[in-house]
Protein backbone atom coordinates (compact mmCIF):
# COMPACT_ATOMS: atom_id res chain seq x y z
CA UNK A 1 0.00 0.00 0.00
CA UNK A 2 2.93 2.34 -0.48
CA UNK A 3 0.87 3.91 -3.28
CA UNK A 4 -0.74 6.08 -0.57
CA UNK A 5 1.48 8.96 -1.51
CA UNK A 6 -0.09 8.89 -4.94
CA UNK A 7 -3.46 9.95 -3.65
CA UNK A 8 -4.34 12.93 -5.78
CA UNK A 9 -7.18 14.90 -4.28
CA UNK A 10 -8.22 16.47 -7.59
CA UNK A 11 -8.41 13.11 -9.29
CA UNK A 12 -10.39 11.47 -6.45
CA UNK A 13 -12.81 14.37 -6.08
CA UNK A 14 -13.45 14.26 -9.81
CA UNK A 15 -14.24 10.53 -9.60
CA UNK A 16 -16.61 11.31 -6.72
CA UNK A 17 -18.33 14.09 -8.75
CA UNK A 18 -17.48 16.54 -6.04
CA UNK A 19 -16.31 20.11 -6.45
CA UNK A 20 -14.13 20.95 -3.48
CA UNK A 21 -13.59 24.43 -2.20
CA UNK A 22 -9.86 25.23 -2.37
CA UNK A 23 -9.75 25.99 1.34
CA UNK A 24 -10.86 22.47 2.27
CA UNK A 25 -8.68 20.57 -0.22
CA UNK A 26 -5.46 20.63 1.74
CA UNK A 27 -7.07 19.55 4.99
CA UNK A 28 -8.97 16.72 3.35
CA UNK A 29 -5.88 15.48 1.54
CA UNK A 30 -3.93 15.46 4.80
CA UNK A 31 -6.77 13.65 6.64
CA UNK A 32 -7.04 11.01 3.93
CA UNK A 33 -3.30 10.38 3.94
CA UNK A 34 -3.33 10.03 7.73
CA UNK A 35 -6.20 7.57 7.57
CA UNK A 36 -4.55 5.59 4.76
CA UNK A 37 -1.38 5.47 6.81
CA UNK A 38 -3.31 4.03 9.73
CA UNK A 39 -5.02 1.50 7.46
CA UNK A 40 -1.60 0.31 6.24
CA UNK A 41 -1.59 -1.81 9.38
CA UNK A 42 -3.49 -4.44 7.35
CA UNK A 43 -0.29 -5.15 5.39
CA UNK A 44 1.03 -6.96 8.46
CA UNK A 45 -1.39 -9.81 7.82
CA UNK A 46 -0.76 -12.49 5.22
CA UNK A 47 -4.10 -13.03 3.49
CA UNK A 48 -2.90 -15.02 0.46
CA UNK A 49 -4.96 -18.06 1.33
CA UNK A 50 -7.93 -16.24 2.91
CA UNK A 51 -11.24 -15.91 1.10
CA UNK A 52 -12.95 -12.52 1.01
CA UNK A 53 -16.18 -11.93 2.94
CA UNK A 54 -18.61 -9.86 0.91
CA UNK A 55 -21.63 -10.94 2.87
CA UNK A 56 -21.60 -12.26 6.44
CA UNK A 57 -24.59 -14.54 6.09
CA UNK A 58 -23.42 -16.29 2.93
CA UNK A 59 -26.73 -15.72 1.22
CA UNK A 60 -26.83 -17.09 -2.33
CA UNK A 61 -28.75 -15.26 -5.04
CA UNK A 62 -32.25 -14.44 -3.85
CA UNK A 63 -34.90 -14.96 -6.49
CA UNK A 64 -38.55 -14.03 -6.68
CA UNK A 65 -41.31 -14.23 -9.25
CA UNK A 66 -41.11 -11.44 -11.78
CA UNK A 67 -44.60 -10.06 -11.33
CA UNK A 68 -45.88 -6.59 -12.14
CA UNK A 69 -47.25 -4.50 -9.32
CA UNK A 70 -47.92 -0.82 -8.86
CA UNK A 71 -45.96 0.89 -6.09
CA UNK A 72 -47.75 4.19 -6.69
CA UNK A 73 -44.54 5.95 -5.71
CA UNK A 74 -43.89 7.83 -8.96
CA UNK A 75 -46.70 10.33 -8.51
CA UNK A 76 -45.77 10.97 -4.87
CA UNK A 77 -42.13 11.54 -5.78
CA UNK A 78 -42.95 14.10 -8.45
CA UNK A 79 -45.64 15.80 -6.40
CA UNK A 80 -43.15 17.35 -3.99
CA UNK A 81 -40.71 18.62 -6.66
CA UNK A 82 -40.80 22.22 -7.93
CA UNK A 83 -42.03 22.60 -11.53
CA UNK A 84 -38.53 23.44 -12.75
CA UNK A 85 -37.45 19.90 -11.88
CA UNK A 86 -40.20 17.90 -13.59
CA UNK A 87 -42.08 17.61 -16.85
CA UNK A 88 -45.00 15.25 -17.24
CA UNK A 89 -44.00 12.01 -15.55
CA UNK A 90 -40.28 12.74 -15.76
CA UNK A 91 -37.48 14.35 -13.79
CA UNK A 92 -36.13 17.32 -15.69
CA UNK A 93 -32.36 17.90 -15.84
CA UNK A 94 -30.05 20.24 -17.76
CA UNK A 95 -29.25 19.13 -21.32
CA UNK A 96 -27.26 15.88 -21.33
CA UNK A 97 -25.92 15.96 -24.91
CA UNK A 98 -24.27 19.18 -26.01
CA UNK A 99 -24.92 20.61 -29.50
CA UNK A 100 -21.38 20.32 -30.81
Amino acid sequence: MSENNKLNIDNVSNLARLNLVDSEKKGLERDLKNILNYIKKLDEIDTKSVEATSHVLNIENVYREDTVSNSGAAADVLKVLPDSRKEGNFFKVPKVIEDN
Binding site: A16, L32, L42, I45, T47, S54, V56, D76, V77, V93
Partner: protein
Protein backbone atom coordinates in the same frame (compact mmCIF):
# COMPACT_ATOMS: atom_id res chain seq x y z
CA UNK B 1 -45.14 10.10 38.08
CA UNK B 2 -45.20 11.95 34.80
CA UNK B 3 -46.20 9.84 31.83
CA UNK B 4 -43.07 10.74 29.86
CA UNK B 5 -40.96 8.84 32.39
CA UNK B 6 -42.63 5.58 31.52
CA UNK B 7 -41.23 2.50 29.80
CA UNK B 8 -43.04 0.79 26.92
CA UNK B 9 -44.57 -1.69 29.37
CA UNK B 10 -45.84 1.05 31.70
CA UNK B 11 -47.15 3.08 28.77
CA UNK B 12 -49.14 0.23 27.24
CA UNK B 13 -50.44 -0.71 30.66
CA UNK B 14 -51.66 2.86 31.09
CA UNK B 15 -53.22 3.28 27.63
CA UNK B 16 -54.95 -0.09 27.26
CA UNK B 17 -56.55 0.90 23.97
CA UNK B 18 -57.96 4.20 25.24
CA UNK B 19 -57.49 7.06 22.75
CA UNK B 20 -57.78 9.79 25.38
CA UNK B 21 -55.04 8.16 27.40
CA UNK B 22 -52.87 7.73 24.32
CA UNK B 23 -53.21 11.44 23.66
CA UNK B 24 -52.25 12.27 27.23
CA UNK B 25 -49.04 10.26 26.83
CA UNK B 26 -48.20 12.30 23.72
CA UNK B 27 -49.13 15.54 25.48
CA UNK B 28 -46.86 14.68 28.37
CA UNK B 29 -43.96 14.09 25.98
CA UNK B 30 -44.66 17.31 24.11
CA UNK B 31 -44.60 19.33 27.33
CA UNK B 32 -41.38 17.63 28.31
CA UNK B 33 -39.83 18.46 24.93
CA UNK B 34 -40.94 22.07 25.11
CA UNK B 35 -39.31 22.31 28.52
CA UNK B 36 -35.98 20.67 27.86
CA UNK B 37 -35.19 20.06 24.20
CA UNK B 38 -33.78 23.56 23.89
CA UNK B 39 -31.00 22.20 26.14
CA UNK B 40 -30.66 18.67 24.73
CA UNK B 41 -31.40 19.17 21.03
CA UNK B 42 -32.41 15.57 20.35
CA UNK B 43 -35.10 16.28 17.77
CA UNK B 44 -35.17 17.66 14.22
CA UNK B 45 -37.88 18.31 11.65
CA UNK B 46 -39.87 19.11 14.67
CA UNK B 47 -41.92 21.98 15.84
CA UNK B 48 -44.00 21.09 18.88
CA UNK B 49 -47.14 22.62 17.38
CA UNK B 50 -46.81 20.73 14.15
CA UNK B 51 -46.21 17.55 16.02
CA UNK B 52 -49.36 17.88 18.12
CA UNK B 53 -51.27 17.96 14.87
CA UNK B 54 -49.27 15.03 13.52
CA UNK B 55 -49.90 13.02 16.61
CA UNK B 56 -53.61 13.73 16.58
CA UNK B 57 -53.82 12.59 13.00
CA UNK B 58 -51.77 9.55 13.75
CA UNK B 59 -53.69 8.57 16.83
CA UNK B 60 -57.07 8.97 15.22
CA UNK B 61 -55.85 7.06 12.18
CA UNK B 62 -54.76 4.23 14.33
CA UNK B 63 -57.79 4.45 16.58
CA UNK B 64 -59.45 2.25 14.00
CA UNK B 65 -57.04 -0.41 15.11
CA UNK B 66 -58.17 -0.32 18.69
CA UNK B 67 -57.17 -3.59 20.16
CA UNK B 68 -53.86 -3.51 18.31
CA UNK B 69 -51.36 -4.61 20.98
CA UNK B 70 -49.24 -1.45 20.85
CA UNK B 71 -52.05 1.03 20.35
CA UNK B 72 -50.94 4.60 21.05
CA UNK B 73 -47.27 3.79 21.66
CA UNK B 74 -45.14 6.76 20.51
CA UNK B 75 -41.86 5.76 18.87
CA UNK B 76 -39.16 8.29 17.98
CA UNK B 77 -37.20 7.65 14.81
CA UNK B 78 -33.70 8.41 13.62
CA UNK B 79 -34.01 10.75 10.66
CA UNK B 80 -32.55 8.24 8.20
CA UNK B 81 -35.62 5.99 8.35
CA UNK B 82 -38.16 6.86 5.65
CA UNK B 83 -41.59 8.11 6.64
CA UNK B 84 -44.15 8.59 3.88
CA UNK B 85 -45.10 12.23 3.45
CA UNK B 86 -42.76 13.32 6.24
CA UNK B 87 -39.44 14.89 5.36
CA UNK B 88 -36.49 12.55 5.96
CA UNK B 89 -33.09 14.23 5.79
CA UNK B 90 -30.31 12.13 7.38
CA UNK B 91 -29.40 15.47 8.99
CA UNK B 92 -27.89 16.49 5.65
CA UNK B 93 -28.28 19.60 3.54
CA UNK B 94 -28.46 17.46 0.43
CA UNK B 95 -31.74 15.87 1.56
CA UNK B 96 -33.50 19.08 2.60
CA UNK B 97 -36.98 18.87 1.16
CA UNK B 98 -36.85 15.13 0.47
CA UNK B 99 -40.25 13.68 1.26
CA UNK B 100 -40.25 9.89 0.90
CA UNK B 101 -43.09 8.38 -1.13
CA UNK B 102 -43.12 5.26 1.06
CA UNK B 103 -42.68 4.05 4.63
CA UNK B 104 -39.73 1.98 5.78
CA UNK B 105 -40.75 -1.59 6.63
CA UNK B 106 -40.08 -0.95 10.34
CA UNK B 107 -42.48 2.01 10.22
CA UNK B 108 -45.10 -0.11 8.50
CA UNK B 109 -44.71 -2.84 11.11
CA UNK B 110 -44.99 -0.38 14.01
CA UNK B 111 -48.11 1.18 12.56
CA UNK B 112 -49.74 -2.18 11.88
CA UNK B 113 -49.42 -2.98 15.57
CA UNK B 114 -50.95 0.35 16.62
CA UNK B 115 -47.75 2.27 17.46
CA UNK B 116 -47.06 5.57 15.76
CA UNK B 117 -44.07 7.67 14.81
CA UNK B 118 -43.77 10.49 17.28
CA UNK B 119 -40.86 12.61 16.04
CA UNK B 120 -37.60 12.43 14.11
CA UNK B 121 -34.25 12.43 15.90
CA UNK B 122 -31.02 14.23 15.09
CA UNK B 123 -28.03 12.19 13.95
CA UNK B 124 -24.58 12.55 12.44
CA UNK B 125 -24.96 13.44 8.76
CA UNK B 126 -25.72 10.18 6.91
CA UNK B 127 -24.69 8.41 10.16
CA UNK B 128 -21.07 9.48 9.60
CA UNK B 129 -19.81 10.17 13.09
CA UNK B 130 -19.61 9.13 16.71
CA UNK B 131 -20.80 12.30 18.40
CA UNK B 132 -23.82 13.71 16.54
CA UNK B 133 -21.67 16.73 15.75
CA UNK B 134 -21.64 16.31 11.95
CA UNK B 135 -25.40 16.99 11.70
CA UNK B 136 -26.18 19.83 9.28
CA UNK B 137 -28.56 21.22 11.90
CA UNK B 138 -25.63 22.25 14.06
CA UNK B 139 -24.94 25.09 11.66
CA UNK B 140 -26.57 28.36 12.57
CA UNK B 141 -28.24 28.68 9.17
CA UNK B 142 -30.04 25.38 9.65
CA UNK B 143 -31.09 25.79 13.24
CA UNK B 144 -34.73 26.59 12.53
CA UNK B 145 -35.56 22.90 12.62
CA UNK B 146 -34.19 22.31 16.08
CA UNK B 147 -35.26 23.72 19.42
CA UNK B 148 -31.61 23.92 20.42
CA UNK B 149 -29.05 26.21 18.87
CA UNK B 150 -26.08 23.89 18.31
CA UNK B 151 -25.28 20.18 18.44
CA UNK B 152 -27.19 17.64 20.51
CA UNK B 153 -25.99 17.46 24.12
CA UNK B 154 -25.61 14.58 26.49
CA UNK B 155 -28.45 14.77 29.05
CA UNK B 156 -26.01 13.85 31.84
CA UNK B 157 -23.66 16.74 31.06
CA UNK B 158 -24.75 19.30 28.49
CA UNK B 159 -21.14 20.14 27.61
CA UNK B 160 -20.55 16.61 26.39
CA UNK B 161 -21.55 14.68 23.26
CA UNK B 162 -24.44 12.26 23.01
CA UNK B 163 -22.31 9.83 21.05
CA UNK B 164 -23.35 8.86 17.58
CA UNK B 165 -24.45 8.48 15.06
CA UNK B 166 -27.90 7.76 16.63
CA UNK B 167 -27.20 10.53 19.17
CA UNK B 168 -30.66 12.08 19.04
CA UNK B 169 -32.33 8.68 19.48
CA UNK B 170 -30.22 7.91 22.56
CA UNK B 171 -30.51 11.39 24.06
CA UNK B 172 -34.30 11.62 23.71
CA UNK B 173 -34.73 8.34 25.57
CA UNK B 174 -32.19 9.30 28.26
CA UNK B 175 -33.79 12.73 28.71
CA UNK B 176 -37.30 11.22 29.02
CA UNK B 177 -38.35 13.00 25.82
CA UNK B 178 -39.41 9.68 24.33
CA UNK B 179 -40.78 6.37 25.50
CA UNK B 180 -38.49 4.54 23.08
CA UNK B 181 -36.65 5.13 19.82
CA UNK B 182 -35.17 3.41 16.80
CA UNK B 183 -31.67 4.04 15.52
CA UNK B 184 -29.35 2.41 13.03
CA UNK B 185 -25.97 0.81 13.69
CA UNK B 186 -23.22 0.47 11.08
CA UNK B 187 -20.18 0.46 13.37
CA UNK B 188 -21.67 1.11 16.79
CA UNK B 189 -24.11 3.90 16.05
CA UNK B 190 -26.79 2.50 18.38
CA UNK B 191 -24.62 0.99 21.11
CA UNK B 192 -22.04 3.75 21.57
CA UNK B 193 -24.59 6.59 22.09
CA UNK B 194 -26.67 4.22 24.27
CA UNK B 195 -23.61 3.69 26.47
CA UNK B 196 -22.73 7.39 26.59
CA UNK B 197 -26.33 8.38 27.43
CA UNK B 198 -27.03 5.53 29.87
CA UNK B 199 -29.75 3.66 27.97
CA UNK B 200 -30.17 0.20 26.42
CA UNK B 201 -29.17 -0.09 22.75
CA UNK B 202 -29.35 -3.21 20.60
CA UNK B 203 -27.82 -3.95 17.22
CA UNK B 204 -29.62 -7.04 15.95
CA UNK B 205 -28.05 -9.74 13.78
CA UNK B 206 -27.45 -8.58 10.21
CA UNK B 207 -30.59 -9.69 8.35
CA UNK B 208 -32.82 -9.82 11.45
CA UNK B 209 -34.56 -6.49 10.72
CA UNK B 210 -35.49 -5.26 7.23
CA UNK B 211 -33.40 -2.37 5.97
CA UNK B 212 -36.04 -1.37 3.42
CA UNK B 213 -36.50 2.38 3.81
CA UNK B 214 -33.35 2.86 5.84
CA UNK B 215 -31.25 5.29 3.79
CA UNK B 216 -28.16 3.19 3.17
CA UNK B 217 -24.69 3.91 4.57
CA UNK B 218 -22.74 0.62 4.55
CA UNK B 219 -25.07 -1.95 3.08
CA UNK B 220 -23.18 -5.00 4.35
CA UNK B 221 -23.11 -3.58 7.90
CA UNK B 222 -26.28 -1.51 8.55
CA UNK B 223 -29.00 -2.71 10.93
CA UNK B 224 -31.95 -0.91 12.54
CA UNK B 225 -32.41 -1.48 16.26
CA UNK B 226 -34.10 -0.20 19.44
CA UNK B 227 -32.92 2.34 22.04
CA UNK B 228 -34.92 1.92 25.23
CA UNK B 229 -35.03 2.52 28.98
CA UNK B 230 -34.99 -1.17 29.89
CA UNK B 231 -33.95 -4.55 28.50
CA UNK B 232 -37.59 -5.64 28.54
CA UNK B 233 -38.50 -2.72 26.25
CA UNK B 234 -35.65 -3.67 23.92
CA UNK B 235 -37.03 -7.21 23.63
CA UNK B 236 -40.55 -5.89 23.02
CA UNK B 237 -39.49 -3.43 20.32
CA UNK B 238 -37.26 -5.93 18.52
CA UNK B 239 -40.22 -8.32 18.49
CA UNK B 240 -42.25 -5.75 16.55
CA UNK B 241 -39.65 -4.79 13.94
CA UNK B 242 -37.86 -8.12 13.32
CA UNK B 243 -38.62 -10.51 10.50
CA UNK B 244 -38.11 -11.36 6.87
CA UNK B 245 -39.11 -8.82 4.25
CA UNK B 246 -39.45 -9.44 0.55
CA UNK B 247 -38.31 -5.87 -0.04
CA UNK B 248 -34.93 -6.49 1.60
CA UNK B 249 -33.19 -9.43 -0.02
CA UNK B 250 -30.58 -9.43 2.77
CA UNK B 251 -33.20 -10.00 5.46
CA UNK B 252 -33.34 -13.61 6.56
CA UNK B 253 -36.34 -15.88 6.78
CA UNK B 254 -35.66 -17.07 10.32
CA UNK B 255 -38.68 -17.31 12.67
CA UNK B 256 -38.98 -14.45 15.18
CA UNK B 257 -39.23 -15.90 18.70
CA UNK B 258 -41.15 -14.20 21.49
CA UNK B 259 -38.17 -12.33 22.89
CA UNK B 260 -40.01 -11.46 26.10
CA UNK B 261 -39.75 -15.17 26.99
CA UNK B 262 -35.97 -14.65 27.35
CA UNK B 263 -36.45 -12.15 30.15
CA UNK B 264 -35.37 -14.61 32.81
CA UNK B 265 -33.33 -13.57 35.83
CA UNK B 266 -30.79 -16.38 35.69
CA UNK B 267 -27.23 -16.72 34.42
CA UNK B 268 -26.24 -19.85 36.31
CA UNK B 269 -23.90 -21.86 34.13
CA UNK B 270 -23.64 -19.13 31.49
CA UNK B 271 -20.13 -18.99 30.04
CA UNK B 272 -19.06 -15.38 29.52
CA UNK B 273 -16.04 -14.80 27.30
CA UNK B 274 -13.75 -11.92 28.25
CA UNK B 275 -11.54 -11.03 25.27
CA UNK B 276 -8.11 -9.95 26.44
CA UNK B 277 -7.67 -7.65 23.41
CA UNK B 278 -10.45 -5.38 24.72
CA UNK B 279 -8.67 -4.43 27.91
CA UNK B 280 -5.96 -2.46 26.26
CA UNK B 281 -3.89 0.56 27.09
CA UNK B 282 -5.80 3.76 26.54
CA UNK B 283 -9.04 2.48 27.98
CA UNK B 284 -10.39 4.93 30.53
CA UNK B 285 -9.73 3.81 34.13
CA UNK B 286 -13.34 4.39 35.23
CA UNK B 287 -14.58 2.28 32.31
CA UNK B 288 -12.15 -0.47 33.22
CA UNK B 289 -13.25 -0.44 36.86
CA UNK B 290 -16.97 -0.50 36.02
CA UNK B 291 -16.54 -3.40 33.60
CA UNK B 292 -14.48 -5.38 36.10
CA UNK B 293 -17.20 -4.84 38.70
CA UNK B 294 -19.82 -5.97 36.19
CA UNK B 295 -17.85 -9.17 35.61
CA UNK B 296 -17.90 -9.74 39.38
CA UNK B 297 -21.68 -9.22 39.42
CA UNK B 298 -22.07 -11.93 36.80
CA UNK B 299 -19.70 -14.25 38.70
CA UNK B 300 -21.64 -13.74 41.91
CA UNK B 301 -24.83 -14.70 40.07
CA UNK B 302 -23.39 -18.01 38.97
CA UNK B 303 -21.93 -17.29 35.54
CA UNK B 304 -18.43 -18.44 34.73
CA UNK B 305 -15.94 -16.19 33.01
CA UNK B 306 -13.64 -17.54 30.35
CA UNK B 307 -10.52 -15.86 29.06
CA UNK B 308 -10.80 -15.69 25.27
CA UNK B 309 -8.86 -14.14 22.42
CA UNK B 310 -10.11 -12.23 19.37
CA UNK B 311 -6.68 -11.84 17.80
CA UNK B 312 -7.64 -9.60 14.87
CA UNK B 313 -9.43 -6.97 16.99
CA UNK B 314 -6.69 -4.45 16.38
CA UNK B 315 -7.39 -4.49 12.64
CA UNK B 316 -11.13 -3.97 12.78
CA UNK B 317 -11.11 -0.17 12.61
CA UNK B 318 -8.95 -0.32 9.46
CA UNK B 319 -11.17 -2.94 7.85
CA UNK B 320 -14.25 -0.98 8.79
CA UNK B 321 -13.08 2.33 7.38
CA UNK B 322 -12.30 0.70 4.05
CA UNK B 323 -15.51 -1.32 3.72
CA UNK B 324 -17.90 1.24 5.22
CA UNK B 325 -16.57 4.19 3.21
CA UNK B 326 -16.39 2.16 -0.01
CA UNK B 327 -20.03 1.15 0.39
CA UNK B 328 -21.00 4.68 1.45
CA UNK B 329 -19.34 6.31 -1.56
CA UNK B 330 -21.32 3.98 -3.78
CA UNK B 331 -24.61 4.44 -1.88
CA UNK B 332 -24.29 8.22 -1.84
CA UNK B 333 -23.64 8.43 -5.58
CA UNK B 334 -27.41 8.68 -6.04
CA UNK B 335 -27.50 12.12 -4.44
CA UNK B 336 -26.71 14.26 -7.47
CA UNK B 337 -29.56 16.77 -7.56
CA UNK B 338 -31.75 14.83 -9.99
CA UNK B 339 -34.25 12.98 -7.83
CA UNK B 340 -33.72 13.78 -4.17
CA UNK B 341 -33.76 16.89 -2.04
CA UNK B 342 -31.42 19.77 -2.79
CA UNK B 343 -30.34 20.75 -6.33
CA UNK B 344 -27.87 23.44 -7.32
CA UNK B 345 -29.66 25.29 -10.13
CA UNK B 346 -28.04 27.02 -13.08
CA UNK B 347 -25.18 25.88 -15.25
CA UNK B 348 -24.85 22.67 -17.22
CA UNK B 349 -25.34 19.09 -16.14
CA UNK B 350 -21.74 18.78 -14.97
CA UNK B 351 -22.05 21.84 -12.77
CA UNK B 352 -25.36 20.62 -11.36
CA UNK B 353 -23.85 17.29 -10.28
CA UNK B 354 -20.60 18.67 -8.87
CA UNK B 355 -22.00 21.74 -7.16
CA UNK B 356 -25.06 19.98 -5.74
CA UNK B 357 -22.71 17.52 -4.06
CA UNK B 358 -20.22 20.19 -3.00
CA UNK B 359 -22.90 22.31 -1.34
CA UNK B 360 -25.11 19.47 -0.17
CA UNK B 361 -22.58 17.31 1.67
CA UNK B 362 -20.88 18.37 4.88
CA UNK B 363 -17.18 17.99 5.61
CA UNK B 364 -17.21 14.48 7.14
CA UNK B 365 -19.47 13.18 4.37
CA UNK B 366 -17.00 14.49 1.80
CA UNK B 367 -14.10 12.94 3.68
CA UNK B 368 -15.75 9.51 3.66
CA UNK B 369 -16.98 9.72 0.07
CA UNK B 370 -13.44 10.59 -1.02
CA UNK B 371 -11.86 7.81 1.01
CA UNK B 372 -14.39 5.29 -0.29
CA UNK B 373 -13.93 6.47 -3.86
CA UNK B 374 -10.17 6.19 -3.55
CA UNK B 375 -10.12 2.64 -2.12
CA UNK B 376 -12.43 1.47 -4.92
CA UNK B 377 -10.60 3.29 -7.72
CA UNK B 378 -8.75 1.50 -10.51
CA UNK B 379 -5.44 0.08 -9.35
CA UNK B 380 -6.26 0.23 -5.63
CA UNK B 381 -9.19 -2.16 -5.30
CA UNK B 382 -7.06 -5.22 -4.47
CA UNK B 383 -4.79 -3.37 -2.07
CA UNK B 384 -7.64 -1.91 -0.02
CA UNK B 385 -11.16 -3.21 -0.56
CA UNK B 386 -10.29 -6.82 -1.32
CA UNK B 387 -7.66 -6.87 1.42
CA UNK B 388 -10.22 -5.54 3.91
CA UNK B 389 -12.77 -8.16 2.88
CA UNK B 390 -10.17 -10.87 3.50
CA UNK B 391 -9.26 -9.55 6.93
CA UNK B 392 -13.00 -9.34 7.59
CA UNK B 393 -13.08 -13.12 7.12
CA UNK B 394 -10.41 -13.48 9.82
CA UNK B 395 -12.49 -11.32 12.18
CA UNK B 396 -15.58 -13.45 11.48
CA UNK B 397 -13.50 -16.56 12.21
CA UNK B 398 -12.22 -15.06 15.48
CA UNK B 399 -15.80 -14.90 16.73
CA UNK B 400 -16.73 -18.41 15.53
CA UNK B 401 -13.71 -19.78 17.39
CA UNK B 402 -14.49 -17.76 20.52
CA UNK B 403 -18.11 -18.94 20.65
CA UNK B 404 -16.87 -22.53 20.90
CA UNK B 405 -15.63 -21.63 24.37
CA UNK B 406 -18.34 -19.28 25.59
CA UNK B 407 -22.04 -18.41 25.18
CA UNK B 408 -21.73 -14.62 25.19
CA UNK B 409 -18.83 -12.17 25.10
CA UNK B 410 -18.59 -9.23 27.50
CA UNK B 411 -16.66 -6.03 26.70
CA UNK B 412 -16.84 -2.31 27.38
CA UNK B 413 -19.09 -0.60 24.79
CA UNK B 414 -16.85 2.44 24.46
CA UNK B 415 -13.27 3.04 25.65
CA UNK B 416 -14.32 6.28 27.35
CA UNK B 417 -17.46 7.89 28.79
CA UNK B 418 -18.97 10.82 26.85
CA UNK B 419 -16.26 13.22 25.67
CA UNK B 420 -16.54 17.00 25.47
CA UNK B 421 -18.29 18.68 22.54
CA UNK B 422 -15.72 19.69 19.94
CA UNK B 423 -12.95 17.58 21.50
CA UNK B 424 -12.51 15.15 18.62
CA UNK B 425 -13.90 17.12 15.69
CA UNK B 426 -10.52 18.19 14.37
CA UNK B 427 -9.03 14.70 14.62
CA UNK B 428 -10.97 12.21 12.45
CA UNK B 429 -8.82 9.26 13.51
CA UNK B 430 -9.44 9.87 17.22
CA UNK B 431 -13.15 10.04 16.41
CA UNK B 432 -13.00 6.79 14.42
CA UNK B 433 -11.28 5.03 17.32
CA UNK B 434 -14.33 5.80 19.51
CA UNK B 435 -15.91 2.79 17.80
CA UNK B 436 -13.10 0.32 18.34
CA UNK B 437 -15.16 -2.02 20.57
CA UNK B 438 -18.40 -1.84 18.60
CA UNK B 439 -17.16 -2.23 15.01
CA UNK B 440 -16.28 -5.97 15.19
CA UNK B 441 -19.95 -7.01 15.73
CA UNK B 442 -20.95 -5.25 12.49
CA UNK B 443 -18.08 -6.81 10.56
CA UNK B 444 -19.11 -10.26 11.83
CA UNK B 445 -22.86 -9.58 11.48
CA UNK B 446 -23.56 -10.75 15.04
CA UNK B 447 -25.97 -9.17 17.55
CA UNK B 448 -24.73 -6.99 20.41
CA UNK B 449 -26.39 -5.02 23.17
CA UNK B 450 -25.16 -2.16 25.35
CA UNK B 451 -26.66 -1.76 28.82
CA UNK B 452 -26.01 0.69 31.66
CA UNK B 453 -23.28 -0.77 33.89
CA UNK B 454 -22.25 2.08 36.16
CA UNK B 455 -20.93 5.61 36.30
CA UNK B 456 -17.62 7.42 36.08
CA UNK B 457 -16.30 9.50 38.98
CA UNK B 458 -17.85 12.51 37.19
CA UNK B 459 -21.25 10.84 37.14
CA UNK B 460 -21.23 9.94 33.44
CA UNK B 461 -22.90 6.70 32.37
CA UNK B 462 -20.75 3.74 31.29
CA UNK B 463 -22.08 0.89 29.17
CA UNK B 464 -21.20 -2.76 28.98
CA UNK B 465 -21.55 -4.64 25.73
CA UNK B 466 -22.66 -8.24 25.33
CA UNK B 467 -22.22 -10.11 22.03
CA UNK B 468 -23.73 -13.41 20.93
CA UNK B 469 -23.68 -15.64 17.82
CA UNK B 470 -25.95 -14.70 14.89
CA UNK B 471 -29.68 -14.91 15.69
CA UNK B 472 -29.03 -15.46 19.41
CA UNK B 473 -30.60 -12.19 20.55
CA UNK B 474 -32.53 -14.23 23.14
CA UNK B 475 -29.24 -15.07 24.85
CA UNK B 476 -28.33 -11.37 24.98
CA UNK B 477 -31.68 -10.46 26.47
CA UNK B 478 -31.43 -13.06 29.23
CA UNK B 479 -27.88 -12.06 30.20
CA UNK B 480 -28.67 -8.34 30.01
CA UNK B 481 -31.95 -8.71 31.90
CA UNK B 482 -30.27 -10.63 34.70
CA UNK B 483 -27.65 -7.92 35.16
CA UNK B 484 -30.32 -5.24 35.11
CA UNK B 485 -32.52 -6.99 37.66
CA UNK B 486 -29.59 -7.34 40.05
CA UNK B 487 -28.25 -3.79 39.75
CA UNK B 488 -29.69 -0.30 40.11
CA UNK B 489 -27.86 1.64 37.39
CA UNK B 490 -30.74 1.71 34.91
CA UNK B 491 -32.99 3.38 37.47
CA UNK B 492 -30.87 6.50 37.75
CA UNK B 493 -32.04 9.33 35.50
CA UNK B 494 -30.21 12.34 34.11
CA UNK B 495 -31.17 15.49 36.02
CA UNK B 496 -32.34 18.21 33.65
Amino acid sequence: MDLYNNTITDTLDFIRGDKEKATSVSDSLITRIKNIDSKVGAYVSFSPDKSIKGIEQNVSLDAAKKGAPFFGLPVSLKDNICTKGWETTCSSNILQGYIPPYNATVVKKLREKGAFIFAKCDMDEFAFGSSCETSCYNKRAMKQKKLKDGPASNPWDLNRVTGGSSGGSAACVAAQEAICALGSDTGGSIRQPAALCGVVGLKPTYGRVSRYGLIAFGSSLDQIGPLTKTVEDSAILLGIIAGWDQKDSTSLNVPVPDYTKSLIDNVKGLRIGIPREYFIEGINSDVKKVIQEAIEVYRSLGASCVDISLPHTDYSVSVYYIIATAEASSNLARFDGVEYGFRHEGGDLHEMYYETRNRGFGHEAKRRILLGTFVLSAGYYDAYYLKAQKVRTLIVNDFSDAFKKCDVILTPTSPTPAFKLGERMSDPLAMYLSDIFTIPANLAGIPAISIPAGFSRDGLPIGLQLLAPAFCEDRLFQAAYTFEQNTEFHKKRAKL
